[in-house]
Amino acid sequence: MSLDALPEPLLTARGLARHYGVRLPGGLMGRRATLKAVDGIDFELARGEILGLVGESGCGKSTTAKLVLGHVAPSAGEVRFDGAPVPVDHGGDWRRLRRRMQMIYQDPLGALDRRLPVAAQIAEPFQIHRPDLSRAERRARAEELMRSVGLRPDQADRFPHELSGGQRQRVVIARALALDPTLLVCDEPVSALDVSVQAQVLNLLDDLRARTGFAALFISHDLKVVRQMADRVAVMYLGRIVEEGSPEEVLHAPLHPYTQALVSAAPSPHAARRRQRIVLRGDPPNPVEAPSGCPFHPRCPVAVARCAAERPPLLRDAGRAVACHLAQTSAGGFAPAPLPQTFSGAA
């Protein structure tokens, strides 16, 4: 443990981008185009911190997860983990690093091997990364992990299809925690679960985090879930981060018109008074043909001429960040973009 005044972040992404060459319909072979899945993002993650990543399908959340884990190589920029770049060659260095970075997916059945009892799957990381452990030790550790995620040892020899969806996700979590990871990447970890089971899994992740202190990149389309888990939230739109801050800042006082719409559109039975929704026009644009200027401007209810011409940079100030011409004050600080006129605020 170093005692530096400014500890280096656990994870740093700088100018991170991933572009894919695609062919669009047209001409004999189609015409070439570039899909900018992730288009230059910067973020940091401190040790033990949970960064929530929200946005709609196609905004680049999952590609960001793959870049962080080194599953795909960046087209530009880099990811640094614990002071060193994340290798993407899938060689020995990458494998050693992956011991410390684990992944939890949305679909536990897809992430598990149907033909292997669950205890064997939980013990599999030991087989690969801890050949020094004996068979009995591996088994004992697997059972300990099962208990820590609320599974009974008598379920050890069950197959994934014999467990419920929530129990399967517990198996995935137990396996991810087997090697005491420093970083967990969770991609929609509770989206496939029913409400009552979702709460069990979220509380479990909370407890495990308090005990083991892992940091996490927590990806979800569900703002309620992100609020519950994250220390900080970044909102993505078309491959870029458009807003960042604490969950309270981003979800209670959103600056960017896209975040404002997203928050207002999140249905909740708790709200004693129903908020009026900001309903955006149209679909998110095709990332292959991203609009000029601010990529959100064609759907933005308050866009001005400047928004179509000039792309707003992501400006940072005191833990808050926003990329919108209308969310800056003349004094240099941030202020929420104006609400659309048809939107009369809280009813």
């Binding site: 909740s268 708790h270 004693a272």
Partner: protein
Amino acid sequence: MPTAPTPASPLVTLRDLTVDFDIGDRFVRALHGVDMEIRRGETLGVVGESGCGKSITWLAALGLLGPAARTGGSAVFDGQELIGMRPRGLDRLRGGRIALIFQDPASALNPVQRIGRQIGESLRLHRGLRGAAARAEARRLLDRVGIANALQRLDEYPHELSGGMNQRVMIAMALAGEPDLLIADEPTTALDATIQAQILDLLRDLQTETGMALALISHDLGVIADMADRVAVMYSGRVIEEAPAHRLFAAPAHPYTRGLMAALPDIEGPRRRLETIPGSVPPPHALPPGCAFAARCPHVDGICEVSPPPLRPVPAAPARRAACARLEALVRAPEPAPALQRQEQRA
């Protein structure tokens, strides 16, 4: 025995609806006598977790469950009994006066037929429109559901449209038969939050305009709270609570409904630890003799394990009904929270 419809009588009445599935050597009961009513122009929200029977209820009422299911009880639509109705009669109603839309529009649409032709088929079957008249009406419907460039879209295929647009096409097809009842089964579950807001707004507008009734089936309590006049909560093949929407979400009566609300994270208010419902839903072939929720219920008592409690009026709230043997004790009790917490720590 069809009864003469009067303006005051409900548009649809389900009485003691049961469904048994043939699983080879025996039948398994999936629906245990469901009662529901929808009045003209009303929105009934049907909510529950996977496997609770919320979709099966309406598929059974419309004779859409296939040969492996045996349906009993009664489903009366505007004076006509649907259970046991001859296929020709059902065909006339389905897609006509009763329309259905599903979660995944892309798989409900024919991938190799142009949009215009699919809407045209509905118009021919239910309104007798052909040729130019059908095309003009199809275009009007696409306009009505908010699809830009309707004329051009008529000649496109489903894969050329986004998920939100395809759901709009499904709604246009449903409108083609000028329905009195629209059954919407998770209509926005596969859509992004901003698109979900658009579709819910569209459904609300259409309802105001046409006066159709809506059966909105969803697992999402927020969507239900947003849209429904009245809500039926289902658990293990039974309706366990029924109430006007604002009353239900303000003060749920049944322990399961209370548990669901407490398990849901919220965007607003202070961040709190989620309360969980321990355990999971019992499988339909292994239901306990008493209340199906008893094993997970913090208020369980000996009486709960004797026989399934019937749906009965909530004391001092005649518009509300709940199926709980301990209702008298619960409605007086101020908060179920401490008991829930205790269960969770044990889990």
